[in-house]
């Protein structure tokens, strides 16, 4: 099943690199324009469980890498073979200066908090997200705190350690 999926992906979409690091693991690298279409295609194929959306900051290359981890439940996957249970991750790179990506809420509804989190901690804007409001943070940060160029120690020095003690 996994090998046919690989062939199908490569024949359906151009610029898609599919590799199999392990027998049960598949890595898909796509450009940002086709990421949404590939995710919809995979969802139709039975990969209906979006386990995680994550982000990696490649500062030297000036890119953010958005990672989607997908698995499939047996009942929906007609091609399911227990020996070939597939763990699938899809990676796409977007510009660091103008980080924008289409939201995948239309395909995977549970992407909503993940995208909010990435928006808050990395400053990536997701087009079509209904409410990109802060999820965890109370204060506003000039640089989103999970970016590599955010200086933790300087921030702590300026924000927390500059508050005076009340007594002695």
């Amino acid at each position: 099943m996994s090998f046919s999926l690989k062939d199908n992906l490569e024949s359906t979409f151009k610029d898609v690199q599919v590799s199999m690091p392990e027998d049960t693991r598949m890595a898909i690298f796509v450009p940002r324009e086709t990421a949404f279409a590939v995710l919809r295609y995979l969802s139709d194929k039975g990969f209906d469980h979006l386990a995680l959306v994550s982000c990696v900051d490649w500062q030297e290359e000036g890119k953010f890498e958005i990672v989607y981890i997908l698995t499939s439940y047996m009942r929906n996957n007609t091609d399911y073979i227990p020996e070939q249970r597939l763990h699938l991750f899809l990676k796409t790179r977007i510009s660091r200066k103008n980080p924008e990506l289409k939201s995948v809420i239309d395909v995977f509804e549970n992407a909503e908090p993940y995208e909010r989190e990435i928006h808050e901690l990395f400053g990536v804007h997701f087009e079509g997200h209904p409410r990109l409001i802060p999820l965890f943070l109370e204060r506003e940060y000039e640089i989103p705190p999970f970016r590599k160029d955010f200086d933790n120690r300087k921030y702590v020095e300026e924000t927390f350690n500059s508050i005076p003690s009340v007594e002695d």
């Binding site: 109370e138 204060r139 940060y141 933790n152 120690r153 921030y155 702590v156 508050i163 009340v166």
Partner: protein, 196 residues
């Protein structure tokens, strides 16, 4: 009852009763919650020391803060502390509320809890053993005896400074000052003294 304490009981019964029935509200974040269930249940049984967990801050007089304090948590801690009836005591548990602990360079964790609310006792460690809570409780008894556990009095006295520190982190705190902050140079508002 200990015979040696009879004079103390006769002298200030309210204080002694208060001391031996600490109704505690736990504020557990992160690893702090791991140590609390064995403390309040059969294994270590905090009720031997008169420490019993209660449901709401309005019934509590001991506030045990276990674990790191993030900004969102700090807001809740201040609200909880201000709701507790006096006399109230605060004990912080673990090294994170003391000086940040392993979160010393974190972007979202406050480093010194005593800049925002008064703290009567510290239990250091990462994490301390449950026995340390009982050591802390017996120390707190001594402090109450000597009237040194006066955090709530200091909070009243230095409320302007505490409130100023709190507002340095949260530009919009969302609730009015508990006590009057009239000694502020710009002059606290008249309705500030009303509190809650």
């Amino acid at each position: 009852m200990d015979r040696n304490q009879i004079t103390k009981w006769l002298k200030s019964p309210a204080k002694m009763a208060n001391k031996y029935s600490l109704h505690v509200i736990y504020f557990c974040t992160g690893c702090g919650i791991i140590e609390i269930p064995p403390v309040i249940t059969a294994k270590w049984d905090a009720e031997r020391f008169g420490v019993i967990p209660v449901a709401t801050p309005r019934q509590a007089n001991l506030f045990l803060i276990a674990g790191y304090v993030s900004l969102k948590t700090l807001k809740a801690i201040i609200r909880t502390y201000e709701q507790m009836p006096e006399p109230k005591y605060t004990v912080s548990f673990g090294s994170c509320p003391i000086n940040g602990g392993m979160y010393w360079d974190s972007y979202n964790t406050i480093k010194h809890l005593d800049k925002f609310i008064p703290v009567d006792g510290w239990i250091a460690g990462c994490m301390p053993r449950p026995e340390a809570i009982f050591v802390g409780i017996t120390h707190l008894w001594t402090l109450i005896d000597k009237e040194m556990a006066d955090g709530y009095i200091r909070y009243r006295k230095n409320y302007a400074a505490y409130r100023r520190n709190q507002e340095m982190l949260f530009s919009n705190l969302g609730w009015p000052p508990l006590y009057s902050i009239d000694d502020e140079p710009e002059g606290g508002s008249q309705e500030a003294g009303v509190g809650k």
